[in-house]
Symmetry: C2
Subunit: 394 residues, 2 copies
């Protein structure tokens, strides 16, 4: 059954070898002149990448200011720092050179600069909706978050430990420069965490209780199979350009909403459950998703059995069991086997964290609060359900 939907993914994609030097011309095209370039670790400085991106910008007459030091599960403090620089320097365009954390930070700064008299955290805290956002774009260095073409940003308030998403089409990036060469030297754990994140963005849209389009399902399944194939290739051969390209492009399509058209909105409980783990323990997001998903899946499976059966057969390629429940369980186990085969965890112990029971209760309470009480489409989860899933995932 096809639900009504809207789809809007205006980001111009510039994909392939050598493209990272082209940011300057696209910033010009989209009206930028005073640019804040946001990045994460010093790796992008030492590798020479930042200079390769910024030098053509300066040659093109763009004023460039730099803001480094964005960390995974990016902090609100860095966002405030960027907003201050932006106000002082008259910034009119944000360029993120990095992965999801850097892009999300740039999005938050862009919101903050467009409404300079309001506290940007109010967006993430659910207090208000944005009315404007400065134009932004990215040179992507990690295939994972899909933030390069999504409307999402996730920021952690390091003082409260809250990790909160805010979604708004105002922050859809103007362009994304995607050069898979920039990911060739990524450590395997980061690569595979990225693959887990990419798959989850589509799985969140796939496991629903509110109807799905056949075309959307078929595209989602094709994408998931392709990511699995190439994740396995990269686990053995990390410098394989074509596999890097497949994963990088999949990362955008997995989260630009293409794989959710007509599905009624998706589930996204797994993401919300992981946000609390990331907020409390600073785990790698994709690995955190892998660690919580099997428990979520077993907990909600009976409420969305046809979806789990379809997933088991069409994505994981399992032979159907004696009944639907057995087929679904075979699919979940096949997914755990896949995670382990690429070095990803399937529970919190394998992830390397051991929350106390009090911490589990605190995470469940915070998750429920962040969700406005409940979350989910495959099955609507309340705080008690969230606690149960955390406990299963130990």
């Amino acid at each position: 059954m096809a639900n009504n939907f809207t789809f809007y993914s205006p980001t111009e994609i510039v994909f392939g070898r050598g493209t990272h030097t082209q940011a300057a011309e696209y910033i010009r095209k989209y009206g930028g002149s005073r640019v804040l370039v946001v990045y994460g670790s010093e790796r992008v400085v030492k590798s020479g990448l930042l200079e390769q991106v910024v030098a053509p910008m300066r040659q093109a007459g763009l004023v460039c200011h730099l803001l480094g030091g964005v960390v995974p599960n990016p902090h609100l403090g860095k966002v405030y720092e960027g907003i201050e620089i932006g106000k002082r320097e008259g910034i009119d365009f944000l360029l993120a050179v990095g992965g999801g954390s850097v892009i999300d930070t740039a999005k938050a700064i862009a919101y903050g600069l467009a409404e300079p008299d309001r506290d940007v955290w109010e967006l993430f805290d659910g207090k208000r909706a944005a009315k404007a956002c400065l134009p932004l774009a990215s040179v992507l260095t990690i295939a994972a978050a899909g933030s390069e073409s999504s409307n999402s940003a996730v920021i952690t308030n390091e003082k409260t430990g809250q990790k909160r998403p805010y979604d708004d089409n105002l922050a859809r990036p103007k362009f994304a420069v995607m050069n898979p060469e920039l990911t060739l030297t990524l450590p395997d754990y980061q690569t595979q965490s990225g693959c887990a994140d990419i798959m989850m963005h589509t799985m969140e849209r796939y496991f629903t209780g509110s109807g799905n389009m056949e075309l959307t399902d078929a595209l989602a399944e094709a994408l998931l199979r392709t990511v699995m194939t190439n994740a396995r290739i990269l686990h053995e051969d990390p410098a394989n350009y074509d596999a890097r390209a497949e994963v990088m492009w999949a990362g955008s399509l997995a989260h630009n909403d293409l794989t959710g058209c007509g599905n009624g909105g998706g589930d996204f409980a797994t993401h919300m459950l992981e946000h609390e783990m990331g907020g409390m323990f600073d785990v790698t997001h994709g690995a955190g998703l892998a660690a919580i998903w099997p428990s979520w899946a077993r907990y909600v499976c009976a409420s969305a059995m046809p979806r789990f059966v379809r997933y088991a057969v069409n994505v994981m390629g399992v032979t159907p069991g004696a009944d639907d429940a057995e087929t679904a369980e075979k699919g979940i186990r096949a997914m755990e086997d896949f995670y382990r085969s690429i070095g990803m965890p399937t529970n919190m112990r394998e992830l390397g964290i051991a929350p106390t029971d009090d911490q589990l209760h605190a995470m469940a309470a915070s998750c429920a609060s962040a969700c406005g009480g409940s979350k989910g489409s495959a099955r609507l989860l309340y705080e008690a359900d969230m606690y149960n899933i955390y406990k299963m995932a130990l």
Copy 2:
């Protein structure tokens, strides 16, 4: 092997039941105030659809002028008529209510109004590139051309018989209202011609000699299988909303470039061959494509054998033959069987036209001229090749 690519599909999709009354709010959002509403036959007037679209626009304070009478293989004369109205009335936004011919006419009018001192035919005749285009959008009534989110327009110069495409991102529509309900009463021949056109937009991108991405292939194959399934459903049950929805959404994704990312540009010789048939005989575009494709496929097959083998197995589901050539031929035959099963022709006789040998030569000469001498990626075709394919297709 992944070729570098750019991807840009900014059109906002508004999809589902009842959405056709929402055009007004989206025109406002995209800055329109004086709108030329373009449509085709009087069917959209008599059915009440035009009034349902335009009444909310007038209520929203938009100035609306109407231009009807667009025909299939739309004429340059109607474009000029629209440009004159647009100049006189100060039009700043074009809304097409119809299918590909109506949208393409609106695109051409939008080009003409943005550069009012130049002859718009120069774009289609390859004399110059556009520098500007007025904003435009559509309320889609036929799933076929994909023009609602593509950068393409095809116009026929009725005085010379030339049917010519012009592709430019300037003409990407701002939004597309896609209500599958509007297609429930389409005659079967038009429905199936639409399905043939949709499939061909992806097949043109699939059959290449210059490399392909695995993800793009997987998405393309998923889309093609979905269209085939739903074309068969609609042949038996034309009022099936879900099947109409699948086909309508596939029509956009088949031609917004998603299914060509990384393929080096696609083939598109079949489209150019058909344009001459459409220019000379005024055949339905999708049926014309079906009539010429099997001959094109057999003519170029040896030059792109791995693609034809993959298509045969992954899309048509045939069991591989003794060698690649046999597998490819089984795939082409399966495609002909599919065309026949939905009432589509597989050659010109079945299409209902019988060009003379002189006409075949004239079509080949005109096609080669329109292509700047040659066309194709699976195999590069020259005028003699085009003649051979036309002759095979009699």
